[in-house]
Symmetry: C2
Subunit: 373 residues, 2 copies
Amino acid sequence: MTASASASASASPSHVKVHIPLGPSGYDIHIGSGLLGQASSYAGLPPSAAALIVTNPTVAALYLPPLREALAAHHREVHVVELPDGEAFKDAASLNLIFDALLRHGCDRRTLLYALGGGVVGDIAGFAAATYMRGISFVQVPTTLLAQVDSSVGGKTGINHPLGKNMIGAFHQPLRVVADLATLATLAPREVTAGLAEVIKYGPIADAAFLDWIDARLSDLRAGDLAALAHAVQRSCEIKAAVVAEDERESGLRAILNFGHTFGHAIEAGLGFGAWLHGEAVGCGMVMAADLSARLGLIDPAYAARIAQIVQRAGLPVKAPALGADRYLELMRLDKKSQAGQIRFVVITEPGRAAVREAPDALVRDVIAAHCA
Amino acid sequence: MTASASASASASPSHVKVHIPLGPSGYDIHIGSGLLGQASSYAGLPPSAAALIVTNPTVAALYLPPLREALAAHHREVHVVELPDGEAFKDAASLNLIFDALLRHGCDRRTLLYALGGGVVGDIAGFAAATYMRGISFVQVPTTLLAQVDSSVGGKTGINHPLGKNMIGAFHQPLRVVADLATLATLAPREVTAGLAEVIKYGPIADAAFLDWIDARLSDLRAGDLAALAHAVQRSCEIKAAVVAEDERESGLRAILNFGHTFGHAIEAGLGFGAWLHGEAVGCGMVMAADLSARLGLIDPAYAARIAQIVQRAGLPVKAPALGADRYLELMRLDKKSQAGQIRFVVITEPGRAAVREAPDALVRDVIAAHCA
C-alpha cells in the first residue's frame, strides 16, 4: 500500500493540512502549534448560532478560555459541558450529560459541537453528535497525542458498555480537526508515551521506513520536540487517512489499524477500563501480536523483537498482566473483529504490511504465556 | 412530484414487493397476508449464525412462535429480548436491554436483528442495530398499520429523551421489511385508526387522487378489508419511498412527511408520551396544519375542512388538548425542524403538494385557539 497516495499534505512553516479523502464526508486535519486559540482555525465552517464545547475539567482549566475566545468570533452562543475525566467515564451517563446540555440550551440541528480533549472526550462527543436529532456536525480539537494521531481520523465514535469496550457507537466524520501541537507540552509524560504506541503502530502495518524514522527520533519524540511531533502526527494521520479512505466502514482493510488492539482490549477489560491507559495496552498488545505473527511463520522473530524493543524504549509496558490464558481468550472472543466465536488477529505479514488472520488457540496461549508478567 | 416514479411494485395475488431505491442501502418491503411465519419471507438475507428478535410481550404472545419457526430455517441460534410495551418505554433503558442481550449472547457484527412489533419496537431495535458495534443489520417485521406505512420506510430510528420525542437516534436502513397484513386483524380498533392518520397524510402532501381513494374506502379500511389495506399499505410505502429516495437524510423535501407532526408532537409531549397514540396526535395535528395552510392563504379553507372531515371519519381526534398557546409554542420550538428558535411547519400548498414554512406566532395562536377542546 502506498499510504501517502490518497492523503495530500500542504505545508507552511507553522501549519500543515492533511486531507481525509472521504468524498462528501471528507475533511481536513489542521496541524500546528497554537492553532486552538486562533479564530482563523475555525473559519469556513457552516454558520451556526450556537456551539457546545464538550470537554473535561482537566482540559478546561488549560484550554477552555482560548477556545471560547476563538469561537466567539463565529457563534453567538457558546455553551460548555464538562464530563468526568477518564476512560472509566466513557459511558452512557456521560453521553447523557451532553444530550441534557443540548436540550437544555434548546440546541437545534445546526448546532456545532466541539470536542475539546483526548480520545474519551472525542469518542463520546462524536457519538453524541452522531445521534443527537439523528446527527449534527462536530469539530475535533484533540489535546493528546493519542487523539491527534488516532481518533481524529476515521470517524469512529462511541462509548463503552460494562460488558465490552467501544461496543456502542457509530461512524460519524467530523467537519474538521484542529490538532494543536502546543497542547502536547502540557501532557503528562505517561500520556505522551501512551500516544506513541499508536504512532509506532503505523510503521509495522503500513510504512517500514516510518518505523525506522521513529526508531531514530524516539528520544526527541519523548522529549516533546515540536518538529519531531509535527512529523509524527502528520505521517500518522496520512497513513490512517489512506487506510480509512479505502475502507470507511471497516469491512476489510481498515481492521489492520487494530494491530495490537485485540490483546490490548483484553488487557484493558481484564484489569478494568482505566487501570492501564489505552495506548499502554496497545503497546503491550503490539508486542504480543508481533510475536504471534512470528510464531505463525509470517515474519522473522528478529522483526518482532525489534518492535518489542521500540515499544519498550518508548516507555510502554511490554509485560502483560497475568489474567490467565482462559480469561484472555474469553475477552478476545468478545472483540468486534471476532466472527462466530473465532478471534481474528491483526498480524504483520512483512515489515510495513498487515493482515487479519485467525490463529490456533494453542499458539495464542503460547504467546500469552511468553508475555505475562 | 410523481410519487410513484422511483418506487416499483411487482404484484402477485398474495404478495407485493415495493422497492425502496436508496442505492447500496436500498431494500424491499414485502407486503402480503401470512408472510411473517413463512421461511421464504426471509430467504436471501446474508447468512448469519445468530439472530436476535426484539419484541414486546403483547406481540410475542401472538407472533413470536411463527417467526421463531420461520427463522429456524435460516439461523442456528434465535435469541429473543422482550421490551416493555408502549411509547412510554421508548427510552434508553429499553435500548440497553437489547445491548445487554446482544452482549450476553456473544453476538458479533454478523448477527441479524429482527424487530417484531409496532413503531416503538422498530425504532428502538433499529437504533440498537445502528449503534451496536457501530452498526449491524436488521429486518423489520411491523405488526401495526402505523409501522407498516410509516416507520418501515426511511430508516429513521431512535428513542425519546425526557426533554423531547425522538431526540436521540440515527438513520439506519433495514435489510428488508416483511409487512404481514394478517397481523392487522389482531390490532385494537384504536390502533388501526391511529395508523390511518399516516395513511391519510400521504394524500394532501403527495397524491390528491389517493386522498379521494381513502375518502371512498374509509369504512372498508376501518373494517379491516384486506384488499383495501393492501392497497393503502402499498401506496403509502410507494409515496414515502419516492420522498425518501430524493432526500434520505432529511435535508429538505423529506420534511414534508412530517405534515401534522409539529402540532402532533407538541400534543404528545404536552400530555406526556403515551396519553394519546402517535397517530391520534398526528391526526389532530394535520387538522391544525391544514387550517394553518388555509390561514396562510395557501389552500382553500374548504380543502382544509375536507381533510378535517376525513380525519374525523377515520375515528381520529380533531380537538386538541387545552395546553395553552404558550406551552404549544414552547414545545414546538423544540421540534427538530426548528431553526434558531423559528418553528417550521409543514403546510399544504395545493392538494397533493406540501412545503416547509415559518408562520407568524399570532396566526399559530389563532389556529391553536380554534382547535383546542
